[in-house]
């Protein structure tokens, strides 16, 4: 279509809309894409760090309880399994909330930020790849959380049980 117009109006330079957006807005879309990729890469890292810190806190708070449960006959496998399940549930809930938030309020919020940044963009629409936004990425976030739990709870299996009794 653009080519047709180009023939009819040889004085004007006619380019397709997509290309026009690319040319005029590329500084903004590129920046946004860069930010998205960057946060996609750091997201799981932050999730891993967060879970680890949180879990460290929970584990030291529950130390006495862990000692008690193992003294009365729960195996390290059972105790560690329970901790990991808890982390998985928490990570899944957190991720689900994040996905819902990004899908609803996220767009207008980022739009507002971009608009207030004075880039000349009044309105912004995300065009997410549903497979990535609602499948692969949430799984990656949860996986990062679970990885943190695995790493932190692995030494518990080998530890002496009395170490948890706080003697």
């Amino acid at each position: 279509m653009a080519a047709e117009y180009g023939e009819r109006y040889p004085d004007a330079s006619v380019i397709p809309m997509r290309e026009y957006v690319q040319q005029t807005m590329s500084y903004a879309t590129d920046a946004l894409r860069g930010a998205a990729v960057l946060s996609a890469v750091f997201g799981p890292g932050v999730a891993l760090l967060n879970t680890s810190l949180f879990l460290r806190l929970v584990l030291s708070r529950d130390r006495g309880k862990t000692g008690l449960l193992s003294a009365v006959g729960f195996s390290s496998g059972e105790i560690v399994g329970q901790v990991r399940l808890k982390v998985l549930v928490a990570a899944a809930a957190g991720t689900a909330m994040g996905v819902v938030f990004a899908g609803t309020a996220g767009e207008s919020l980022v739009g507002l930020l971009v608009a207030s940044a004075g880039l000349g963009i009044g309105e912004l629409a995300f065009i997410p790849d549903p497979l990535i936004a609602y499948g692969v990425y949430p799984l990656a976030l949860m996986g990062a959380g679970l990885l943190g739990a695995l790493l932190l709870t692995a030494p518990l299996r080998r530890a002496d049980k009395s170490a948890w009794l706080g003697r």
């Binding site: 000692g67 193992s70 006959g73 729960f74 009395s162």
Partner: protein, 266 residues
């Protein structure tokens, strides 16, 4: 039965607990610290052993390595002839659940459960099927009755006294009918009247045929045992034998122990 014949019966009974050349070294310290070593010990079924020694001499460490809580780094620990050092994590936890009862200085309970549910927790975990669960519950209720805490069964664990709580620990440790009851300073956090409550309970348990290993600093508590061993720097250095416990002899035995402990440098 007189004291002498009970003592004889205990000597002839089969071994409940045994360790040979037991050692525990902590490698987390630099340099590694060998906390107990070269421990040879046997406790007959129905025996009541008290472990004494200065602070840091390794009493708790010995107890935990005999009871399937921790893993010895040397030697062997046998419970009813079964070598604990060869067991995996799951088998060890099964031993703690069904063959061993543990009582600690600080009675430890789940805050979210009432006293009775705390007592029944391991017994219900061990039970397979409704009938066994009902039996376990009946056994737990019987124990609570026996040790005078049946009336606080529905109380939260913060609503009962330290002595009651420690008797609840004893009920919990006995609910699975263990072959040995281990107690680490069970009266260490109690006043003298609660101490007597708890020691009367343990003496009663022993009189019922249970095997007990108890760590204590208190000569009056150790006097309840039929044998007392002394630990110094992680080694067994001396021991003392008594007949069965009886109230009249209590004072004399305690004095005897105090003299003995003084000889040991305590």
């Amino acid at each position: 039965m007189t004291g002498a014949t009970t003592a004889q019966a205990v000597t002839q009974a089969p071994t409940a607990l045994e360790c040979r050349d037991l050692a525990k070294t902590y490698y987390s310290t630099d340099p590694p610290s060998e906390v107990v070593s070269g421990i040879d010990l046997a406790v007959r079924r129905g025996g009541f052993l008290a472990v004494m020694g200065a602070s840091g001499s390794g009493k708790s460490t010995l107890l935990y390595n005999l009871s399937g809580m921790d893993r010895p780094t040397g030697g062997r620990a046998l419970l009813e002839g079964r070598d604990l050092t060869s067991l995996g994590d799951r088998e060890m936890s099964r031993v703690r659940l069904t063959r061993v009862g543990l009582v600690f200085q600080q009675a430890s309970f789940l805050r979210t459960l009432n006293v009775r549910d705390n007592i029944l927790l391991p017994a219900l975990k061990a039970a397979s099927g409704k009938r066994q669960a009902a039996e376990a519950a009946a056994r737990g209720d019987g124990l609570m009755e026996r040790f005078g805490i049946a009336h606080v069964g529905r109380h939260g664990i913060t609503q009962v006294s330290g002595g009651q709580l420690q008797r609840a620990s004893i009920c919990r440790s006995l609910a699975c009918e263990p072959s040995v009851l281990f107690a680490d300073e069970p009266t260490g956090a109690l006043n003298s009247s609660m101490t007597k409550e708890v020691m009367d309970a343990l003496t009663d348990v022993h009189a019922g045929g249970a095997t007990i290993v108890m760590v204590t600093h208190d000569p009056a508590c150790a006097a309840r045992a039929d044998r007392v061993v002394f630990l110094r720097d992680g080694r067994l250095v001396d021991s003392r034998e008594f007949g069965a416990w009886n109230e009249e002899e209590a004072g004399r035995r305690e004095d005897d122990l105090i003299t003995w402990l003084r000889e040991q440098g305590l």
